[in-house]
Structures are given as structure tokens and as C-alpha cells.
Amino acid sequence: MSKHEITLWQPKLPVRIPVTFNNAKDMVPYANSHQLTGRDRTQIVSAFENHHYEMVSSFVWTKALSSLKAQLAKLGAAFISEMLDRPDINTSSSIDQVLTDYEALRLAQELGVITGTGALRLRQALERLTHFGQLSPDEADETPMTAEEAIGLLRACIENILGQEKIEAALDFKKFRDGLEKKLYDGDEHEIQTMLSSPYFFQRASVRILLALVKTTKSAQLENALANANVIIPLLWDRLAGPEKHQLGRAYAELASEGKATATAGLKKVLLKVRGFDYVPEDLRSTSFIKAANAILTAHEEMNNFYNEPAPTKYLDDMGSVIPIPAFPVCMSAVLCVRLGNQFGISYDAQRYANSILKRVSKERWVYFLNDCLKTDDRVLYKLMQENPAARWTELVREFSLATVAAREVTDRTTRQLIAEAEAGKSNLVHNLSARLIDKLGYESKSK
């Protein structure tokens, strides 16, 4: 995202540790005393001095992510469920347990808790940590984590999370969210116009905030949220990708099924305005598929992913031949995460299930995926920026003849090129085009 680009809310700035600092002793004073106690700091410095890099990195990471998740949990399970489009998260869910680290970072970035660059660095740190966490004892002895790698992680955690006095969403975000339930917007207002010219993830977040408010508020707040949904969603409709349209349709069906008459009637008006009833699912079977896909993503993004991926992938494979369309984007995201793996490898045992699912994807569904889902799927796009997953993507593009499909039926130029370059085996171009799509989406593709 260009720094001159208009955005609906600006992220909080990180704590800056001078770039010349490269040891733990200099860095830990930048951590906030509420987040890292004196004892924690001493232990961290001591572990660095004793070269226990994997151990200290795990410790720092756990501290940082626990703190971040605890703060995100204050937003409420229903809000988080909607923001991440995870219907499996409900009021009885423990956010600390159900939210993967990847999702926590993404959500934190979307709410302006951390900057895009901060999120990118933390994601890279997470992947490195996951890699070292699953090495066998022999491998760990042969290729241990280096001091530089551990210092990088420590810096990212302190600058973005542990150094903050208070972890909270961006002020503009809070103002916007409050406004959606407390005042009535019209289409000409500055904030709405800013949203319309913001990158996609702000627009997606706005729709998700509105849906969360419609599902959780009552009385006057609900009336305001519904009135605002009736102004904002029609303005955004043509820009929204299929997954977001399906999320709206599913929210309508869920509210009707739960007997929430006022909220359902409000969303019905929105859907009538945009002629969006095609996106209302015929049944709520899709929710089961979404839950199954999220189980795969959780396995993929947690420690020991190569061992944990086969079971949920098999479960999704066994669920049935046709994935309901509202669940299709997240199912594809999950299956591609398994198939593409990460920079350090793939789960071999999960491949046959992932391939079995992919083989059942019809040509029409591939067209939908390439046209509507891929360009907004940050998970998969970030993978395509890495050498090894990008090489597996090339195999997949060839195996399913996606270049032919893309050349004929994909409208987005960058996506079409991405497929063509993958077919040609040009991984550096695959990297660049994925980065371009990520930037267009509003996330960061490179450190600043």
C-alpha cells in the first residue's frame, strides 16, 4: 500500500528500536514493564547469552501473542467470528485457543493494532518459529536457529506488541466502528467516501463490522447498524468479491434461522436493494464445511502442522463430493495451504486428501476461484511469494490446466498473468504478481 494512499483508519505506530541495536540486552528495555516483567527480561537476556535461541524465541513469541490475543478477545467472540468469517467461533469459545497466530496477526493488522510492515515481520517470524519447532532432534542439532533469526523475532515482538503500553485498535477504527452503531451515515459523508477509495481490506472489514453489529447489537444500536448497512453495502456491492457477498447471504440465513426478526428484515432490505438473494445459501450445510476448512487452517498454522494436517484434510475430503458455494473460498484456501505447504515443506500424508478434493473441483468452480477468490486470499498469495510454495503452485497450475482456463475466462489482468507465469515456470514473476495483488488488497508485501 502506498503511504499516500487514502485509508479509513491509520494503524498505531510501533515502538522504534534503533536499527543499530542487535543484541537482546539493548532491546529488552524497550519492552513495556506491564508486558515483560524485570524477571522476564533477565531471563531473555540470559537465554540469549547462553545461545538458547529456539527456547527464548518461543518464550517471547508466546508472551507477545498471548497479550495480543487477550486484547483481541475484548472485542467479543461474535465480532471476531464475523471479522474472520469463522462461524465455528461462538460466545463459549476461548479466543486464546481458537484463534490461530496467523489469524491474530491478520486481525490485528486489519484493526490497526499493528502496522502492515509489523504484521509482515511477525508473520515471517511465526513461520520461522514453526519451522524450528517441528525439526527432529537430529535436524535441530544440525541446523539450529541463529542469533540473527532470534534477534529478528525479538525485535518484531517488542516493536509491535511487547513495547506498546496498551495494545488497542487504531483510534480511527474505534471511531468508525462506534459511528456505525451510534450515528446514521449517508453516502456523501467523508468517512464513507474514504472507505470507498480505501484498499479492499478496509471495505471488506467495513462489511464484516456491519455484519457483526447486526448480529450482536439490539434496540437503537441495531436500528442504526441496519440503516448504515442499507447505505454502505449497496455502495460497495459491485466492488465486493464473491466470498464477501456469500458471507452477507449466509448472515441473512443464519439470522432468519435464529429467529432474529428485526436484524433479518434489515438485511433483507439490503439484499433486495442489491438483488443479492442469489448469495443466500439454500441451506446452512455450508457452515459445516467452513468449520472443517477452518480446522485444516488451524492445523496448518499451528506447531507440528505437517503431523496435524492429514486428519482434518481427510475429514473435509470425506464430507461429500460438492462443496457448497458459500464454503468454497475458505475450503480452497485450506486445501491450497496443504497442497502448497510452506517454505520448509509439505505434509506428505495430507496430500492425497488435498488432491482428492482438488480433483473434484469443476471447471466452473476454478473460474470462480480464479476470478473472485484468489485475488482476495491473502493466505495463498503470501505463499506464492515464497519460493517453494510457488514451485508447487506451478505444478498445480499445470496439473489442472489452469492457464487455459485463465486465458479464456479470468477477467483480472494480474491474476491472469499470475497463472500464465506460473505455467511458464517463472517463479520470480509469480512472486511479483502475488505481491502486486497483496498490495492491491491493502496488505504489505514487503518490509519498509
Binding site: 463459549s92 440465513a253 432468519a256 426478526a261 433479518t264 433483507k268 438473494f277 443466500v280 446452512l284
Partner: protein, 346 residues
């Protein structure tokens, strides 16, 4: 010289129906004739001696209506010339099947009426077609609905909120519709239910009580404030349920789990409460949506024999005197179909 006079409500009904259709923007002479026929038939609808209470929807596009009804399905039964007789035929063919969530549709198609049955929703809490198409209807999907709301009382309501109540009796205007009284009574039952599920608990009781009123057996029900921890002394001649049935808890469980098991439990709970309300005596609710006791008999104070009406009416008078003390609201449906409510909303 003897005079012979025939009194028919048809003319009057015709005028009212024309006005209703005009206000809904659904004017059509064939629909008008058919609607008069349907209203007349629904007032005392029976098949093989058994009373039936179908909901009948007349609409211009079944597909559009189904598109806004989540998890909907339909079964086409037939199609015939656009005339009143086809509407009557549609009712005869479809009414016996219009039970347990199925409703009758009549679709206006050019020169024809198509008819059949449709339903929507997956759980007992799902919003009904009446709620989505009519109560919260939209001009984009013109539709109106007829149903019997109490014995001899037919309600016709449209998407733009016009309504027509037809009572086949000699009741005063203000007594015709039972719905405002029913709404007031339900407001008492859900008065202390937490806001996030108040709507669903209210809708649950609306379904239960509507079914009870249609059955026409007569019923007595009362609501006591939640601050009370035990059944009031005067209500102890009955069957106290222990532990009491908490409808809000069951609804909360169902919303959290969304599984067949919790839906089945809620359905079973609905059947049980319906049975209680159709039993003799009073059914006692808490203002937090719970059921405390049923089959309760109150002692009538001396001198109450002079009150006009039967035993149920006399009991209702006694209950009314307890409102503000042991009770927050009381409801009666006497055997002649009359419905009354006394109580205070918060």
C-alpha cells in the same frame, strides 16, 4: 303481512376485500372473488370433520418469495384457470397438507392460478414465511396472507401492512382480534428475559399460544414476577413443575449448538407447554419466560357466583384481582372463543 329477509355478508365482504387489495396494490377482480370465497371457507374450515388451520399466501412470484426464505422448498399441486373456483379448489387440495410449517400458496400467473405448498426454515426458531413475507414484507415482493387467528376470526394481511379482520359473529369491533391481547400477554412472559434472546422467546410463545387459541378448547394462563421464588399460596392447588421449565435456557442452548438435538428438545418443550395450556386450570409462567405450574385451580371468593359467565370467567376475575400483587398478567380464552388479557407491561 309476513316479511322474508335474507342477510348475506357477501356484499360487505366484497367491498372490504376490494379496499384491501387496492391498498396492497394487488387489485384484480378474479383475486377479489377468490379471496371472498377463501375467507368464507376458512372461517370454519373442516375436512372429514377435523378442523384445519392453514395459512394461505397469495403472491405474484413464488420464485421471488422463495428466494428470500432461507432453506425453503415447495411442492406444486396444480394449476387452473384464474377464477374463484380455482382458489377454492387450491384450498381443498392443499389445506389437509398444510401442517407443521407447510403453508398454501396461490400464485397469480397470467390467466392462471398455480397452487401448492411451501415451507422454509430448519428449526423451530426459524422465521416463518408470514414473518418474512408479510409482517416484514417489501413492495418488491407483493403478497398477502389469510389465516384463522381464532375461531371464526379470519385475518388477511398484506406486505404493506394493511389488514382485514373478518369475524363471523356478533362481536364488538374491539373484541375481534385476539392478537393485541396475545402480544400483551407475551410481553409479560418475556418481560425479564435477557434482551439478546427476548425476540426468540417471544416468538416461541407466540407460536405456542396461537396454536392453543386456534384449538378453541379455552385456556387460562397467568404470569408471575421473577422476584418470587415460589408459587404463590393461592396457586398451589395444581401441579408444580420442578425444576421449572426454562424456555430461555433451551433457546440459548439451541443457538449455541444449532444441532438437531437441541431443536428436538425445544420442539418437545413446545408440545409440552401446549398440552399444559390445553389442560383444565391455570398455567403459570414466570416473567423470565419459565413455566412454573399448570392445572391450577383457584378458590373463588364468596359472592363471586354472581359474576356473569362460566367457571373459567369467574377464575379470570379472581386472577385479575391478583395482578399487581402475585401476578403481572392474566389471559383467558373462554370456550366461546372470547379472549381477554389483564395486566401491566413494564
Amino acid at each position: 303481512m309476513p316479511t322474508h329477509k335474507t342477510l348475506s355478508l357477501r356484499e360487505q365482504l366484497n367491498v372490504a376485500v376490494v379496499e384491501f387489495l387496492d391498498s396492497e396494490g394487488m387489485s384484480c377482480p378474479k383475486t377479489r372473488d377468490g379471496l371472498v370465497t377463501l375467507i368464507n371457507a376458512l372461517g370454519h374450515y373442516r375436512e372429514e370433520g377435523k378442523a384445519l388451520f392453514p395459512e394461505v399466501f397469495v403472491l405474484d412470484s413464488l420464485n421471488e418469495a422463495l428466494s428470500i426464505l432461507p432453506e425453503s422448498e415447495h411442492v406444486e399441486i396444480g394449476e387452473d384457470k384464474k377464477q374463484a373456483a380455482t382458489m377454492a379448489k387450491a384450498l381443498k387440495k392443499c389445506a389437509p397438507l398444510a401442517r407443521r410449517g407447510w403453508a398454501v400458496y396461490i400464485e397469480r400467473r397470467g390467466g392462471m392460478f398455480g397452487y401448492g405448498l411451501f415451507r422454509s426454515g430448519s428449526t423451530i426458531l426459524s422465521l416463518s414465511p408470514a414473518e418474512l413475507l408479510v409482517n416484514r414484507g417489501d413492495p418488491a415482493i407483493p403478497v398477502f396472507m389469510l389465516r384463522q387467528v381464532a375461531e371464526n376470526v379470519i385475518q388477511v394481511s398484506g406486505f404493506s401492512h394493511s389488514s382485514l379482520l373478518v369475524h363471523f359473529g356478533a362481536t364488538k369491533d374491539v373484541e375481534v382480534s385476539p392478537l393485541p391481547k396475545l402480544n400483551d400477554f407475551i410481553a409479560c412472559i418475556v418481560r425479564d428475559v435477557p434482551g439478546e434472546i427476548q425476540e426468540q422467546v417471544g416468538s416461541f410463545y407466540m407460536n405456542v399460544l396461537s396454536g392453543v387459541l386456534r384449538a378453541g378448547h379455552g385456556t387460562l394462563a397467568a404470569v408471575m414476577p421473577t422476584r418470587r421464588r415460589t408459587v404463590p399460596k393461592s396457586f398451589r392447588d395444581g401441579i408444580t413443575i420442578s425444576p421449572r421449565i426454562s424456555v430461555p435456557d433451551k433457546i440459548r442452548q439451541m443457538l449455541a449448538k444449532s444441532d438437531f438435538n437441541s431443536n428436538a428438545k425445544l420442539q418437545a418443550c413446545s408440545a409440552l407447554i401446549t398440552g399444559m395450556l390445553l389442560s383444565d386450570g391455570i398455567t403459570l409462567f414466570g416473567s423470565d419466560g419459565t413455566v412454573w405450574a399448570y392445572n391450577i385451580f383457584l378458590k373463588h371468593p364468596k359472592g363471586s357466583e354472581s359474576v356473569a359467565g362460566g367457571a373459567r370467567t369467574r377464575t379470570f376475575k379472581v386472577m385479575c384481582e391478583l395482578v399487581g400483587k402475585d401476578l403481572v398478567g392474566a389471559l383467558i380464552q373462554s370456550q366461546d372463543g372470547r379472549i381477554d388479557f389483564y395486566g401491566k407491561r413494564k
